[in-house]
Symmetry: C2
Subunit: 197 residues, 2 copies
Amino acid sequence: MAKLTNRKNGSRKEMISLAAARLFREKGFASTGMRDLAGDVGVEAASLYNHIRSKSELLQEICFRVANDFTAQLQEVENNNTLNSIEKLEAIVRFHVTMWVNRLDEVMVTNNESKYLEEPYNATFLNERRIYVRRLEQIIEEGIAKGQIRKVQPYSVVLTLLSAVRGIEFWHRTKKNISASELEESMIIHLVEGLKK
Amino acid sequence: MAKLTNRKNGSRKEMISLAAARLFREKGFASTGMRDLAGDVGVEAASLYNHIRSKSELLQEICFRVANDFTAQLQEVENNNTLNSIEKLEAIVRFHVTMWVNRLDEVMVTNNESKYLEEPYNATFLNERRIYVRRLEQIIEEGIAKGQIRKVQPYSVVLTLLSAVRGIEFWHRTKKNISASELEESMIIHLVEGLKK
DNA sequence: AAACAATACTAACAGGTGTTAGTACAATTA
DNA sequence: TAATTGTACTAACACCTGTTAGTATTGTTT
């Protein structure tokens, strides 16, 4: 029965994870009950435990899935030698905007609820984030050294870039005024253009 | 006994509110128990109710205190006719940075936990925020019309400005690399300078 | 000294929490 | 067909939640 069941199990678990991401975003991790989640999936709370190990596991999977996607894309950009430093930053910011636009639930949960990760996951997560920030700083430092980027405070610029896209959270509530691509272009101009030398 | 008691009561309540802000930020509103809060204040949970009406009331006071401070400062800037549009934006961003640096607990609670406000407070809060954003947009629109600001998407720029300062949250954990004033100058240059025509 | 108000305490409440045990049923595999 | 596996259910658990009632203690005001 292996394959069919695994497929079924997989899709069921995906449903649960998707519903969890939405609920964790809307109500917060701590305020989302297993009975809420079960209701959304259309099942009794106890039945969830045929598919997941715990509520915490759901949060772990969301946070590290998102973190891995960000890290993988950063790796790609770093390896792409056809891009100069500004173009690298632009590619990274565009990816962040895309993630916030297309995967709001997961990304917001990762940003706002990761503190509820149990140890050692929380420590691992914070460490990965620190390394991610450090790698972005290095791109900026390299750009400054090569004369492609203005003399700026790399750490401060990274913080600003990473946080600025969080504004997309509010855009999501009232999408009508401006399209996703307009938003993306506007943010690129505002955040990246000014770094050019 | 009115005055002395009120003073005592006031300071006791301030202590509770301060501890609440810190706990709400660290653990989140939902995960902060009245017994946690009481422990921090050095008292039994039930004793808190001699000073406050409910857990919700604590959140309300924090959120609206912060919201009022932001609104009051915006009012001042709007009324100051010696400032052009760029200078107005700069003053506003500087104030946001200062608030995030000096009153992190309250500001973060206001940003991250306001969704736990009970109705009608939640609706009122969201409405005030919408109006605040709208007023910032108007400053930008006016600056564009007067030729002081580049042609940008006002809404997108406001979202970016308001969210970018949230990066200060992470700076707070490791203040050592860069001072508050360096951070402020860096953010002003990155976020405001590029808007000049 | 008497009265009062503020504030702390203990005990208890009704309801909610994540999770486990045990069981029944359905579909798939041998 | 028989055995196996996945998945749903009900019932229950130990614990935690914000809050109230009732009471004792303290320090201040009349």
